[in-house]
């Protein structure tokens, strides 16, 4: 789960990390009030889960409260990469002496949190990583012990020479690690970590991604989720316990299992079609899941044909068949449906489908070829 910058700032601030003051606004008037409180020139930043906010016009300077109000009015409600801006962050346009990068990520190869720090911060860190990887220092943390003080110091010495600043940065490393662990993060990033002309060390921008698996037992983190920041169909799918990602094609896909769902999308493409989505109904099936899946897929006007690809293991294919029948009774599905199912309880599933005049195939290639053809005919 991605957090907004203002939410990430709040978590880091709670961990004690020094930051410029700033606040979040939902209206131009609120933005004006915050700008007045801060005083001087401020930056107004759109709060959306999309990169390239600046280029899209979502980050603006304002020299006084009146300008802050105007700029906030421009940014609030604008669309960046399909997402509407509902909130802006207002922060001072601080004078900066140096910019560095501090990131902490759960690394799959190291199997532990790994710090990445670089004195070359502020700019696109991914580009630094690609072009001059030697400028990024990596340090794995053994979660059994946590971040050792001497490791925190070592990281801080990568960034600064002045020992007062080194000590300040080492403390920030420890605070960032604590925030990472305590909030079940898979990524926590300060970019940039800055020094001011009067030699203070502060975090300017923050990014946190929470491990979705933590949310089950951390309702306090779950409330940070911003439904309006998601594609509406994806938010609806999540509430229905479906793993769904909207794509640009016209072949709707309902599949059990993430690997098979990806392989199904690939096969649609292989036969010359374009998948409209990734959708995994998960292991334990229920007719309700299938009904919800069909609702979400048929809501997309681009979908011209729908494919069910179900390999029953834990998933019972008769549950899926019952779901398909119930869904088509509840609401009209205007596009053709191709069903492929095989595995657990398939004889029963075929009987259920035949009962309402539907057929199912047992071969995945055959089903995909057919659905691609149907989508093409309808397009």
């Amino acid at each position: 789960m991605n957090l907004h910058e203002y939410q990430a700032r709040a978590l880091l601030k709670a961990a004690g990390i020094p930051m410029f003051e700033g606040d979040v606004a939902s209206t131009p008037t609120e933005a004006e009030a915050i700008a007045r409180r801060i005083g001087g020139t401020v930056v107004i930043k759109a709060q959306v889960h999309a990169g390239g906010r600046g280029k899209a016009g979502g980050v603006k300077l304002a020299r006084n409260p009146a300008e802050a109000m105007d700029e906030a009015a421009q940014i609030l409600g604008m669309t960046i990469k399909g997402l509407t801006v509902h909130k802006v962050l207002v922060v001072p346009a601080a004078e900066i002496a140096t910019e560095s990068y501090v990131g902490l990520i759960m690394d799959r190869e190291a199997q532990c949190p790994v710090f990445m720090v670089s004195a070359a911060g502020g700019v696109d860190i991914e580009e630094v990583a690609a072009r001059t990887p030697e400028k990024i220092v990596r340090l794995p943390v053994d979660p059994t012990y946590g971040l050792f003080p001497h490791h925190a110091l070592r990281l801080a010495f990568v960034l600064y020479r002045d020992f007062t600043q080194v000590k300040a940065a080492a403390r920030i490393m420890e605070q960032l690690y604590a925030a990472f662990v305590n909030n079940g993060a898979s990524l926590a990033e300060i970019n940039p970590l800055v020094t001011t002309p009067d030699a203070r060390v502060l975090a300017l921008d923050a990014k946190i991604v929470i491990d979705d698996n933590e949310l089950f037992w951390r309702p306090d983190l779950g409330v940070l989720r911003d439904d309006s920041a998601e594609e509406p169909s994806e938010a609806a799918a999540r509430r229905a316990n479906l793993s769904f990602i909207k794509l640009d094609g016209n072949v709707g896909c309902v599949v059990n299992g993430a690997g098979l769902a990806m392989a199904t999308m690939d096969l649609v493409k292989y036969y010359g079609g374009e998948p409209a989505n990734f959708l995994d109904i998960g292991g334990s099936s229920s007719p309700e899941k299938v009904i919800n899946a069909l609702k979400i897929i048929t809501a997309d006007p681009h979908v011209k044909a729908i494919l069910f690809n179900i390999f029953g293991g834990i998933t019972r294919t008769d549950d899926v068949a019952n779901g398909i029948v119930a869904a088509t009774r509840q609401f009209k599905v205007d596009v053709p449906i191709v069903i492929r199912l095989t595995g657990t309880n398939e004889v029963e599933a075929l009987r259920i489908l035949e009962g309402v005049g539907m057929r199912a195939l047992s071969d995945m290639d055959q089903a995909v070829e057919q659905v691609v053809q149907l989508a093409r005919n309808a397009a």
């Binding site: 491990d211 690997g259 292989y270």
Partner: protein, 290 residues
């Protein structure tokens, strides 16, 4: 002999009285697996299906029954603790089926598992099955498998079934099928399985089914080039997946330029691994190489 499990496998089920655990324990028993013990704290003294004794702790179960493999079906928040308990009891092989374990739990668990010399398969995996000795540990449907000489290793569940089903229908049997799991942190990776298949006299060829995200397949391809003398064919799911999006499996996310299907397929190519463009290709590719 086969890799990981065989006729000598004596299986213990952690979470045997739960909804998932009881359902799959019955399936494993029906398949012919020697399920010798179950563990559910507080239910010690009960008997599962009239034949399998249930214990309060893993340690007690191991001492009473001589179990040598554990499979875990406990809920996500208790699963990492269950792995630690199994490792602490000295079981050499632990298979964790549970999906949804926080990654930090696994990060804290792995150093302990390694310190005890335990092989962990999973979590978030379908487990493994050896059709010859009829040893099924996990949830892979037994009826789609058949005995033979192909070792299958995969990051996914149902996609594995799809590929195994193609093999069985074409008359190509399997020595062992292993699902290593789709999470970012897993106990056993492709290389571990490739090594086991290379050393297993009953395995003559290998199928590896990977997906987007991470670099495990790339490392595995390099390992194949250097160490594996048996024919290998491979598939990568997610060739059409968009970048930066999590495709169901927490591991299946492409970040930046790393973990793409193109990158992985290129590594396969270099290693001489036969590339399946679609699951059905497995039959023809294997026939041409075995």
């Amino acid at each position: 002999m086969s890799a990981f499990v065989d006729r000598n496998t004596r299986l213990l089920v952690q979470g045997i009285t739960g909804r998932e655990g009881s359902f799959h324990s019955r399936q494993m028993l029906e398949y012919g697996t020697a399920v010798v013990a179950g563990v559910t704290p507080g239910k010690g003294g009960q008997t599962f299906e009239g034949t399998v004794p249930v214990f309060n702790t893993v340690d007690e179960a191991v001492r009473a029954t001589g179990a040598n493999v554990s499979v875990i079906y406990v809920p996500p928040m208790a699963a990492a603790a269950a792995i630690v308990e199994a490792a602490d009891a000295g079981l050499p092989l632990v298979v964790c089926i549970t999906e949804g374990i926080p990654v930090m739990h696994m990060s804290r668990t792995m150093p302990f598992v390694r310190s005890r010399g335990v092989r962990l398969i999973g979590p978030n995996c379908p487990g493994l099955i050896a059709p010859g000795p009829r040893a099924k540990v996990g949830i892979i449907p037994g009826n789609i498998c058949s005995p033979g000489r192909v070792g299958v290793v995969s990051r996914s569940g149902t996609l594995t079934y799809e590929v195994v089903n193609h093999l069985t229908r074409a008359g190509i049997g399997q020595s062992t099928c292993v699902g290593i799991g789709g999470d970012p942190i897993i106990g056993t990776n492709f290389i571990d399985c490739l090594r086991a298949f290379q050393d297993d006299a009953d395995t003559a060829a290998i199928v590896m089914i990977g997906e987007i995200g991470g670099t495990d397949e790339q490392h595995a391809a390099a390992f194949v080039k250097e160490q594996i003398t048996k024919p290998v064919v491979g598939f990568i799911a997610g060739q059409t997946a968009p970048k930066g999006r999590r495709m169901g499996h927490a591991g299946a996310i492409i970040s930046g330029s790393s973990g793409t299907a193109e990158e992985k397929l290129a590594a396969f190519e270099v290693a001489g691994i036969g590339i399946m463009r679609r699951p059905a290709d497995v039959v023809g590719l294997l026939r041409s190489r075995m």
